[in-house]
Symmetry: D2
């Protein structure tokens, strides 16, 4: 079974300084270049804290992050690409043949021996049908119709910091589907490593906005945060 791997391939160098310099210029006579050179680490953090808390998030768009994501399911990538303020390059199932397919296995299934058996039998049948179709000369792009949504894919994703924050609000939520929540969690950890002042309070809306848009006040995370 395949497992998710998320890598931060590239990002705007010094992303916090770039965003802070842009913020400073909005209310100053001087240029962002000057702010970029002059801002102390302290001022930079204070500025970022201010723009984030007051919701002036557009300056965060100048910081851009590129991830390589491997070993997620097509079910997950279908959800992922619904985020439109982002750029994607996905491995094509039309052209790339899958000979050793390692499928994604949901935990609810792996925890239950019989369910895992049923799942594995389904997968084996798909794999078998896929191979037979290819051997009969069916084009890869049509044979893949038999591949289950547990099929793995690779995708390169670029989002700016503002779009990422929105992504984390929606997808780090406990109500989000487990696979994309795991993906969002890994992405959040990676960007926290390179832009802590931007992302330190990122996460689901219950953390960032102290609201639950779905009004699930029995959610374990809500209880932990606000009801203890």
């Amino acid at each position: 079974m395949s497992s998710m791997k998320v890598t931060l391939l590239a990002h705007t160098p010094d992303p916090e300084r770039v965003a802070a310099a842009a913020a400073r210029q909005c209310y100053s006579k001087h240029s962002a270049t000057k702010a970029y050179n002059d801002l102390s680490a302290e001022e930079m953090k204070r500025l970022l804290k201010m723009v984030i808390s007051s919701g002036h998030l557009s300056v965060l768009e100048h910081a851009s992050f590129t991830f390589v994501i491997e070993g997620i399911s097509r079910a997950c990538s279908h959800q992922l690409v619904r985020h439109r303020i982002a750029s994607y390059s996905q491995q094509s199932q039309r052209y790339v043949k899958f000979d050793e397919i390692e499928f994604i296995l949901p935990e609810s299934i792996s925890k239950q021996a019989e369910a895992q058996k049923a799942f594995a039998e389904g997968l084996d049948a798909c794999r078998e049908a896929y191979r037979r179709l290819l051997s009969m000369g069916i084009p890869t792009e049509d044979a893949r119709y038999i591949l289950p949504q547990a099929s793995p894919t690779k995708i390169v994703v670029t989002m700016n910091a503002r779009s990422l924050m929105n992504f984390f609000e929606l997808r780090c939520c406990l109500r989000a589907q487990w696979e994309i929540r795991e993906l969002a969690g890994q992405m959040l950890n990676l960007v926290k490593g390179v832009a802590p002042a931007i992302f330190e309070n990122s996460g689901p809306a219950c953390i960032t906005k102290r609201i639950c848009p779905e009004k699930r006040y029995d959610c374990p995370l809500w209880v932990e945060l606000y009801k203890k």
Copy 2:
């Protein structure tokens, strides 16, 4: 087996007049409201022809079209939602159980008895595994991992006329994957019915721009258009 059904649910009333009025205002002292009321059908067509041929396509964005699409595969919807200048509402596989699943069948498979048999066996195994997983209490959102990409979906799509034109350029191309090409063809027919002056020359780039971005000059469509 399921078959594709595309309906034009709603659109900007009098879409050509709205786009033409916006175009007229750009180069006039008078308002678009006046142009909307005053333009003759002839002037309207001439204006639209001019903006389209000169590439000033932004005025076409004021005309918006909403489609209901049923009976396309998840493979197809995954491609569709990659078009980011559009709005989507898709039937959720996380919540909706599929008891009578009618899968999408590629023609290359339906044409060949043995391939169809292999495909059907794979599908049956998926269906069976899906039912077993649900009966064991596996959540719908996880059981669906066994569903093949041939699984049907329903989706509501809204695009403006400019975004549609770009969609048609890419997806009406003979090199596009067959299912999304069929979808694009049906959508094009529907919008031609209500906005002929906008869409009369829409289609793949070989028709609209007289170029083949992929440089496939042996393509049957290219040959038919330019080599006879």
Copy 3:
């Protein structure tokens, strides 16, 4: 002096029904077409209320609204076009000559006789310089550099309901610049007339989200809403 005029030129017919039908399909086996035909007015309103309160705003994108805006200043249009999820067609100052320029007059200036005099003298000088430049053969696109930001413009704007809601949150705020706040107010009134169930609670964030992103708890609107 010019005054603002906002017209709703066109919109998705039955915009609430279209959005509600899209919402219904997300969690149903049936198509949006069926929902569009079957939903009672009551169900429609309940569905819209639910999607709005839970933040599932994407279904509102299927409803699109086109405005003609006349008599706003270039200062205002510059702010307006910063909203990127929208379509614009603006009267060109490069090509259209302004012979009888009616400038926009801020109320803070009109209330004070001396300020109004200073303003009028500045405007007269601009008008005079513009005419002299044109008479010397300077191209319109360059002569306009002398035109003040109080110069009027006409613009056609199309936004979907979700983008409008965001626009209203930012621009109906008492802290927003007065001219774009007036514009936003007029646009809100117009869409409330045709889609009350969507826009009935639209407005600044203090109304929609019961928060003040700028934390101005001494704002008269905040005081009126929550401190009486």
Copy 4:
């Protein structure tokens, strides 16, 4: 008089390698991370050339560029921000007072002594009115209504490589307004310096696509390119 200054503040490190790695993954079993590490400089250039010539431009979106632009007019920034696939942070005229205003001077005016005189007189009157208004206590955000469109502004802009290419096609065109054409030219030079394989053939559509969307075949650039 102010003069334009454009600085490349930040960009995706190794932008060509990131875009090429994303392109490679689309048609390969291996990940973009591997391609990023393994691609030779030659392969990288060949890949980029291929994706650009075949119009598969989406991979270029992973490369992002941030500019600081100073000394452009508000007329120019108004045009600039019409490009919606981009991020902007602009110096606010609502809050920043301009005491030493250095206006932008079009060449057609500077070349002609009398025109320059008329222009200067208009500017002086604006400057004077602006100061009087401020001294009477008129808020900065209203006093600026008298400032001409020649007023300078500073803006931070981030665009990805694909959006930049589109920007250059439209704004490097000889028919584009002179100030934004000059800006586009400076931006193009800057990105050519750090991503030559991506931008070497960028420019107006007559260069990139060998077409003139406006069909101005008497344009000096067209004549130079194709009619000699």
